[in-house]
């Protein structure tokens, strides 16, 4: 059985509820649905954020996320996965990224959603530029995100794979 898996990279907003319904509609084997939504915040510390602009590597972004979705469906007994990542200019309060995972049981749904988010943060070829007080700067990668992604690595696995 193939697990329904959808990956979309788009400029437009998405609808988490509609994507969830698409995955669960008409099936009665789903016992657990986890959704994650990443939202553009309006401030970082004391500095207010005017907008984020997300650049991506078209083609590679889809391929990279699809590889990780395929890995998630192998590691956990999933019944469906949808990942949507936006690019372009995004203002505070707008959604940036969403992950929906469906499984018979909650452990798999939670683990797969966290796994995918950790990988999206560190491996998917997207770059965030933040606008603060009229200045645009590139967001630095966070060591905490690398550490979060590391916990899923299989022993002996090449870090660049």
């Amino acid at each position: 059985m193939t697990v329904p898996a959808t990956v979309r990279i788009q400029r437009e907003p998405f609808d988490v509820a509609a994507e969830t319904k698409t995955l669960t509609r008409g099936r009665t084997d789903a016992g657990a649905v986890v959704t994650f939504t990443g939202i553009c915040r309006g401030a970082e510390g004391d500095e207010s954020i005017a907008a984020l602009t997300l650049e991506h590597y078209p083609g590679m972004a889809e391929a990279e996320i699809e590889r990780h979705v395929a890995e998630a469906t192998q590691r956990w007994p999933l019944l469906g996965v949808t990942v949507i990542h936006r690019y372009g200019r995004i203002v505070p309060g707008e959604d940036i990224v969403m992950v929906v995972t469906v499984s018979s049981h909650r452990e798999a749904a939670f683990a797969a959603a966290e796994f995918l988010m950790d990988y999206l943060k560190t491996r998917a070829p997207f770059w965030k530029q933040v606008e603060k007080a009229g200045e645009k700067t590139w967001v630095d990668a966070k060591a905490t995100d690398d550490a979060a992604a590391e916990r899923w690595a299989a022993p002996g696995r090449d870090a660049a794979e």
Binding site: H56, Y57, K121, W127, W138, A141
Partner: protein, 83 residues
């Protein structure tokens, strides 16, 4: 060979992509970075800290010591900050 640049690597070099003829003897990603750095100030600036530069060959992440032979498209970019 087609090279692509993203985020601040793109901004520093001043273009999103270009086609280059590689001189003989450049076998790995790291060697390609060294050669690019020698092509001008903008390249030297983009690659001033090679340790933070990430690379992909034909849309797959690779390491500095990966061989570039047979590559169609090589991309350079900073650490990813998606999600």
């Amino acid at each position: 060979m087609k090279l692509r640049y993203f985020a601040w690597v793109r901004e520093r070099i001043g273009k999103p992509e270009e086609d280059v003829e590689l001189p003989a003897g450049i076998a790995t990603v790291a060697e390609l970075i060294t050669w690019l750095s020698s092509r001008g100030e903008e390249y030297a600036y983009a690659f001033e800290n090679p340790k933070v530069i990430r690379a992909a060959i034909d849309r797959t992440h690779v390491r500095p010591n990966t061989a570039i032979k047979g590559a169609g498209e090589i991309a350079f970019f900073p650490p990813m900050t998606g999600g």
